[in-house]
Structures are given as structure tokens and as C-alpha cells.
């Protein structure tokens, strides 16, 4: 029998709120975190809006001393604050730096999509080009190495199990959770912090702007720019932030008497192989459906038990295809489709952080019994219109919300799907 894995702590730094209760309230109210970004306008970006956590410099200064702050670029900063929040939310104390004990039973998987690009662009490239390598100092590698986030979190919390950083584009955050669950199920760890983060930087977003896949048509109306499932969806809105879930083996939780938010019933990752319509940038629909079905099978439930879907749904041409894939994979047509919403309608697409932030959104909806609104889709895409009844435009109270599916689909034709169930003792 599989070891059961539950969520006992969460932390989130999102464009529309830092902290669980603030974020939950923002979700419930449909509060957008999308704003005009003057730097993008100054740099002649087509897209001049984005979702960036507000007031983060003040937030991180409350958490970390001067010495640590020097090593925290935005990507690692978002991850560090969210990880500490998840850790303390689960009832653990942040150890003192002088405390030499290591928690060998807990590890961390902390992903990002593009990572320390701001440090590379603003420090490494100019200083190298000016011949000033010797004056870069000691803090570059730890901020640009792909494992910079997991390494920092492990040091903050003295974690001694597996510490690694994954990367699978927009699927990264979900994948971290799925990998962490697998490790706990295998009996190789008791607890894992799993999540993702992504910095806020024009250098991260530039490539997407050049591809014209981010929204260029709503620069004068930032809060309307992220339009998943809309007929006038015009590309995704770039976002930034970080989130972590503390995943824990059920027996361990019971022995320490900790609160449980939800159980991770199952998960699945795969790749469409860039075939059957899949490419480096587009999903193979067969891969998507296999991933969803795989997660449902791993969860050991019937597709009919799914009450709501938190989609990938970024506001591109792929949204109608995604909804069709869900319908086919679950064998549920418009007449009995689950609720479906897009957290990205409020926060944009936070890339490597997206899955993690949106998993937190899922668990908060389970905790509080509601389905959050999906903004800016009053004009549904015609192919999605048959599902209109199941797309909330304002928060829907759902005290019976029990099972929610969360998916992410990323560049590279990679897919991830998770099934969460509300914890009912």
C-alpha cells in the first residue's frame, strides 16, 4: 500500500498577495495582481504589463539579515520567503544559524523556469564585458546556479535529505510537487518542501515578447490583460513570485499531531515527444490526455469524482484545446463538466513558479470551500462556450468541494497533473 502524502504547510508570494490568508482573500475577491510595468515600456516591449509581487523588498528585509540579503536575487528571495512561510505554517521553527543540528528526514525540491537571469543580465554580463571579473565578488555562482533556490532553502532550514532544483518550463512547480510526493512514497524522505519561483525581470520575459506569445493588446488596461478562455485572449501576461508546499508522510503528521490541509492523491508527468501535433512550444494533445488520465489512475479515483479543475489556461490559442483535452481525458462533456478556472487570470503566468503558486491556490480553495473566479472571460472563446455554466466569474461557495485537479503544460511539450483531496479526518 502506498504511503499517503499530505500537505501540512504552505507559503506563497504572489503578484496579488503575500501570505496564505491575503492570497486566499485575493482569490476569493478576484483581485488582479497585473499592473503596468514602466521598465517594459521604457525598453520598447510589446507587452508592458506584468504580475510582480508588491513591496517585496520590505518583505524580505523582515525575514533575512543583511548578510543573507546580499545573496538573494528576486528568484531566490521569493523562494526563501515562501519556504520559510511554509515551514512555519506547518508548525516548525526556523533554526538558528548557530544550531548545528540537521533535519535528515526533510528535503527540498525548488524549481524555476529561467532562474537567475536578472543576476546574469545586470551583473555578470556587464562586469565581464568591462573586464571587471575580479570585482564581481563571491555571490554570483550561488545566485545563478540552477540549484541556487534549493541550496538556499536547505541552508535556511538545515534540511539534510535530497536537495535539488528541477526545471521543466511552465510545468516546473507541479513537477516539484510530484517528484517530492514520489520520494516520500518510496520511503526515502519523511517530509519534502516542494515548489518553485521565478524572478521579475525584462531579461526573463524578453524572449517571450520576441515570440509574441505575451499580451501586447491591453497595455492600457493591465487588469484586463490576462484573459484565459476569452475570445479576445491575446497571449499570456508574464508574472513572478514563489510558493512552497510542505508535503509530509501521513504517519509522521499523525505522530506530531499537526494540522492537515489536503492529501495529494496522485500525480503524473510526461512529455508528448514533439509528435502528433506537439512541438517545442505546443502540446501533443495525446500526451496531455495521457497525463491527466495517469494522474487520475495514480489517485485511485474515478474521473467523476473531480469537482474542479485548476487549468494551465494561460490565455493563448491553446486554451480551447486544453478544455477539450480535459473533457476527453475525463470523459465528461459540457453537461457534467467540473468547475474550471485559471489562477493566471489574476496573477499572470509565473513560469517556473506558476504550478507551485496555483497548487497553493487549489489547496486554499479546498480549505475554505470555494471556487475562485476566472477573470476576463465574460466573452468566452466560442469553442469553450458550451462549458460556460462551469466557469465562475465570481467566487462560488462550494462547501462540498473535495477533489481538485491541477495541471501544467510547458514548453518542451512537457505535462504535469496533480489530484488534491480535501482532508477530512
Amino acid at each position: 500500500m502506498k504511503r499517503r502524502v499530505v500537505v501540512t504547510g504552505m507559503g506563497v508570494v504572489a503578484p496579488n498577495g503575500h501570505g496564505l490568508d491575503v492570497f486566499a482573500q485575493a482569490l476569493r475577491e478576484g483581485r488582479s495582481g497585473i499592473r503596468h510595468i514602466p521598465e517594459l515600456a521604457a525598453l520598447n516591449f510589446g507587452c508592458q504589463v506584468g504580475g510582480v509581487p508588491e513591496g517585496f523588498d520590505a518583505i524580505r528585509q523582515r525575514y533575512f539579515d543583511h548578510e543573507k540579503l546580499l545573496s538573494l536575487n528576486d528568484n531566490i528571495g521569493y523562494a526563501s520567503v515562501a519556504a520559510v512561510d511554509a515551514w512555519t505554517d506547518a508548525g516548525f521553527a526556523v533554526p538558528e544559524a548557530e544550531d548545528d543540528r540537521v533535519d535528515w528526514e526533510t528535503g527540498v525540491i525548488a524549481g524555476s523556469g529561467i532562474g537567475g537571469m536578472d543576476t546574469i543580465a545586470r551583473t555578470v554580463v556587464p562586469m565581464v564585458n568591462e573586464g571587471k571579473v575580479r570585482r564581481m565578488g563571491s555571490r554570483i555562482v550561488e545566485q545563478v546556479m540552477n540549484s541556487g533556490t534549493s541550496a538556499r532553502v536547505a541552508g535556511l532550514l538545515a534540511l539534510g535529505n535530497q536537495v535539488t532544483s528541477n526545471s521543466s518550463a511552465c510545468s516546473t512547480g507541479n513537477e516539484a510537487v510530484i517528484e517530492a510526493v514520489a520520494r516520500i512514497r518510496l520511503g526515502l524522505a519523511t517530509r519534502m518542501l516542494a515548489g518553485g519561483s521565478e524572478g521579475a525581470s525584462p531579461y526573463i520575459w524578453a524572449g517571450f515578447d520576441a515570440m509574441r506569445v505575451i499580451c501586447r493588446k491591453f497595455n492600457d488596461r493591465p487588469e484586463e490583460a490576462s484573459r484565459p478562455m476569452s475570445a479576445t485572449a491575446a497571449g499570456f501576461v508574464p508574472g513572478a513570485g514563489g510558493a512552497f508546499l510542505l508535503l509530509e508522510e501521513l504517519g509522521s503528521v499523525r505522530s506530531r499531531g499537526a494540522r492537515i490541509y489536503a492529501e495529494v492523491l496522485g500525480g503524473m508527468v510526461n512529455c508528448g515527444g514533439h509528435r502528433m501535433g506537439g512541438t517545442i512550444t505546443a502540446p501533443n494533445p495525446e500526451g496531455v490526455k495521457r497525463c491527466i488520465r495517469g494522474a487520475v489512475a495514480d489517485a485511485g479515483i474515478s474521473p467523476r469524482e473531480i469537482d474542479a479543475i485548476n487549468g494551465h489556461l494561460t490565455a493563448t490559442y491553446a486554451d480551447p484545446i486544453e478544455v477539450k483535452n480535459w473533457s476527453a481525458a475525463l470523459e465528461r462533456g459540457p453537461e457534467d463538466f467540473p468547475w474550471i478556472n485559471s489562477t493566471k487570470s489574476m496573477i499572470g503566468h509565473c513560469l517556473g513558479a506558476a504550478g507551485a503558486i496555483e497548487c497553493v491556490a487549489v489547496v486554499l480553495q479546498l480549505r475554505d470551500g470555494f471556487v475562485h473566479p476566472s477573470l476576463n472571460c465574460g466573452d468566452l472563446h466560442p469553442e469553450i462556450a458550451p462549458y460556460e455554466r462551469r466557469i465562475p466569474h465570481s467566487a462560488v461557495a462550494c462547501p462540498d468541494l473535495k477533489v481538485v485537479a491541477k495541471a501544467g503544460f510547458g514548453f518542451g511539450d512537457v505535462n504535469s497533473c496533480l489530484i488534491f483531496r480535501k482532508w477530512e479526518p
Binding site: 543583511h66 548578510e67 546580499l70 565578488g137 563571491s138 555571490r139
Partner: protein, 82 residues
């Protein structure tokens, strides 16, 4: 600049790199920067850069390698100024 002034400036520089600033309260010329102040060894390069900026000098790798204690740093700065 007097030896006392140089020492004070070096202690101010070190303040940004010690986890426990109380350790600097009883610092002497013999205080070892890594062993006594428990500064992360990777940060020595940052301390050297800061010294270069504060004292308006260049410290090459061989000179930097000679710094183990606060007194070593003070002596080097005095020699550079002479």
C-alpha cells in the same frame, strides 16, 4: 590614517559579514577572521573588494592571501599607504 582609524574601518567592513556582531566587540589585532569571527571563507573576496573601495587601494591576490587576522589586514593597509 592612524592604526586605530584603520582598525575601526576594517571592523566596520567585517560587520557586514559576521553572523554574530557581538564577536566584533572583543576583537583584537589577533582575532582570526575565519576561525574567531566565523566569516564564511567564500566571503573573503568580498571583504578584499570592500577594503579596496574604502581605502582607495588595490590588493592583489598574494597580498590578500597574507590576511588571516584583523592585525594582518591593518598592517597591509598601512604598508600600502606608506
Amino acid at each position: 590614517m592612524s592604526e586605530e582609524q584603520i582598525t575601526k574601518k576594517i571592523i566596520d567592513i567585517l560587520r557586514g559579514y559576521v553572523k554574530d556582531s557581538a564577536l566584533l566587540e572583543k576583537a583584537t589585532p589577533k582575532t582570526h577572521i575565519l576561525k574567531d569571527l566565523r566569516v564564511n571563507s567564500a566571503r573573503l573576496v568580498d571583504i578584499i573588494i570592500k577594503c579596496e573601495d574604502v581605502f582607495g587601494t588595490m590588493i592583489d591576490d598574494d597580498e590578500a592571501d597574507r590576511i588571516a587576522t584583523i592585525g594582518d589586514a591593518v598592517l597591509l593597509i598601512q604598508q600600502k599607504a606608506a
